[in-house]
Symmetry: C2
Subunit: 256 residues, 2 copies
Amino acid sequence: MTGRDRGADLQAIEPSPVVILVRPQLAENIGAVARAMGNGGLFHLRLVAPRDGWPEQKAWRMASGAHRILDAATVHETVADAVQDLHRVFATCPRARHIIKPVLTARGAAVELHEIGARGLKTGVLFGPERAGLDNDDIACADSLIRYDLNPGFMSLNLAQAVMILGYEWYIARDPDAAARGLQTNETGIATKFELEQFMEHLIRLCDESGFLKNEQKRPGMVRNLWHLFQRGEITSQELNTLHGVIAELARGRKP
Amino acid sequence: MTGRDRGADLQAIEPSPVVILVRPQLAENIGAVARAMGNGGLFHLRLVAPRDGWPEQKAWRMASGAHRILDAATVHETVADAVQDLHRVFATCPRARHIIKPVLTARGAAVELHEIGARGLKTGVLFGPERAGLDNDDIACADSLIRYDLNPGFMSLNLAQAVMILGYEWYIARDPDAAARGLQTNETGIATKFELEQFMEHLIRLCDESGFLKNEQKRPGMVRNLWHLFQRGEITSQELNTLHGVIAELARGRKP
């Protein structure tokens, strides 16, 4: 609609659930929701009776490039209308209510959304208006509730934040291994013990040559301490290369 | 500072990591960060060289009641100053850079933050300015990097969203069982098989009385189908009570 389309490379993880904003109040929040959807690999946005009408330029300004999501958004008069082509509907519902439906965490819901989608069924998630949240009639249109596991002492959750958490879990749940993959390394590998040994030989040879280890009695303990120091954490191959250079250079400076 | 203190019941999950905003630009974003911290059970906020100075009223207006977090925030000239009392520092870093540090997901980092905190050590997490992100000097102050597992096709992540995701994972990681607890029920339990049996007896007795099951040959299959129908999903005790009432009422209407 406006601005350059930084979101040309928006990639939805299909089949992705429809995000349904029920009576959203501020267009800025709708834009922020679109941005969060982009982050989470969600694409389909429906608006039920947006308070200030639609389209609203302010939404596009807040979307930070996620314009295609807003361009494709549809407007509906009622929740029932917005969900009529869907097979399974979830409602985000922070407060405990006297409603008899299964309640999932965001993480559990994301897994279930993928499972349902993989069966070729269409899903959607309802998010309520900024202040009041979903009312009982809205929730009656849903099969299950989603309750975020967040600080019960501070329940004021921004609308775009609520969509972000779902999108984040949705994105991670695309790949069951991704969550477990806690530690990666950045373009360089952890050094092998062989690489470490090569470095330690280099270091100790230079220490010997410099006279640093000349005390024969203390030498074994000092060498052991050096080993402990460089073994303590994971050290990368690239770090070892740097250290090789450092000690070679230091040793060169010392020589006549 | 201003407004009613809706955050009087902010509960941090201590020892919680310090959130360090490096050269934040907009006071509104600092307020939105405080709100997200409240959601995630984080409390300690430090600001490094906020562009528009500090304090800024706009931050309190955006914090939605998380005023105590802003009231307690401290301002620092440099990242080095902001981290000097901490034992372990993480840096959020979306882009691949030629930096040799371990990289964790938000989920992995949250677990590690709890583990480090449990050893009595203080932790902090750096978040960069809105547009540019952290620079290489900032990152040099950190031990490890955090890279969120989000859509690489749309990397524009709002500052408060970045803090929200960390806070969300921090809150969940307080309780290793919480993540696994995918399905809860809402103030009512799933019906026992005994409760279901009582209901089915009630239903079939009324069906017999009404004449609905009068065809002796078809009766076993029809009864089996009714059982299948009510056994298909989990049914709650409260739902069964409602159904008891429904069928009793229907049966009453039929009687002379």
